[in-house]
Amino acid sequence: MCNDPVSASTYLDWASTAPLHPAARETLVAALDAGWADPARLYGSARRVRAAYEAAREQVATIVGARADEISFPTSGTQAVHLAVLGTAAARRRVGQDVVVSAVEHSSVLNAATAAAAGGVVHEVPVDRSGRVEVLAFAEAVRRPRVTVANLQSANHEVGTLQPVTEAAAACRAAGVPLHVDAAQTLGRLPTPDWDLLSGSAHKWGGPAGVGILAVRTGLRWRSPLPEDERGGGRIPGYENVPAVLAAAAALAAREEERADEARRLARLVERVRTEVPAAVPDVQVVGDPDPAGRAPHLVTFSCLYVPGEALLTELDRAGIAVSSGSSCTSSALTPSHVLVAMGALSHGNIRVSFGRDSTDADVDRLLAVLPRAVAGLRADVGAAGL
């Protein structure tokens, strides 16, 4: 029943992935039937597929502020990040091997930086309590002598804090260092900021899984770390997944129309969580920028004192609520979220709630109906009730 908060299924993990957008589904189904021919061939059906693919590239390019030939479609956002970082480092080997990152980048960026800097140094720029990188420290880091590439996300994936990309881009320009912007959390949700290299992931904006986006600014020195291939314009080897790319572009175009209205709607849901969860549950720390202008509209993170994070995920899942967590409490194999540690935030009972195009007030109501009792029960289990 719709009015039963426990039996309903509530998806609050849109920052991880989104269900297929209707525009993507329609395009994908049509393209699976009509768009299977080899886009590298010269007969009519193949040329039509190539033309559709180029149109999708053009469409995506316009949305992210690029030229079509600057856009490629790797197989994931992670692969886009790897190619952006490794390809720039490879082309600028004469400059050095060092890489600049913020302390709160996605693990794919941190891992790519470590790989690219083999023999060099990864300079990690700290963040403030809201999770925002310090501009002066970032500018100082990119002015160091041997930096091949700097990396800054558009918005943090765990706490939603917007990063000062415009200022970072200016500092990078002044230092002659290319800036890679991981825009996975904001493509399809917010305007695209300045970039020299841009990465993102279609399944987060309602496209199919298996499509990333990589943009490399014309004139930038970049060399593929992968073997040469006659396909993929020298950037992404292998046979193009044309139906999925067309669907990803259709979803991004549809999101571009929806996103301004949706951002206002989701920001209000986020505001409800930020005020109503601490009112309903004692000892909750809401993490991130308290100023709505300083954060992405769709996600909010809070931590519940004394609560094991994984146990809380399990309790919420039992109630049909899907969320993610930066906690690793009691899970010996994992380390706590590097984002929360870098911010100096509480890592206990950490819950990331993220919203998307289907989210409504009823989702927040269901969370609020379940959370207080779940937290109280878990605190009692670990002997922390009333502490």
């Binding site: 690793s328 409490c329 502490l387």
Partner: protein, 83 residues
């Protein structure tokens, strides 16, 4: 002048040491919350914790509970003054 940071004074008297090494979050913080009441107000306790989350959880707990976080005197050894 270059006064040493008061937090870093090596001669701080430690009224009690809570050894929570080997425990995962949130257990070290729960132990701290249970036991800090065993020392006088104004006394300093040391929490030993090798859970990487402790580095942010100890100061976060101190600010939520109005206790004074004095810093990490050596890796994994956190000093807290009871208020």
């Amino acid at each position: 002048m270059n006064d040493p940071e008061p937090e870093a004074e090596p001669e701080t008297v430690i009224a009690a040491t809570f050894d929570c090494r080997g425990q995962r979050c949130p257990l070290p913080i729960i132990a701290l919350a249970h036991q800090i009441g065993s020392v006088e107000i104004g006394a300093v306790v040391a929490l030993l914790a090798d859970d990487p989350a402790a580095r942010s959880d100890v100061p976060a707990w101190c600010s939520m509970r109005g206790q004074t976080y004095l810093g990490e005197s050596e890796p994994g050894r956190f000093l807290i003054r009871r208020t």
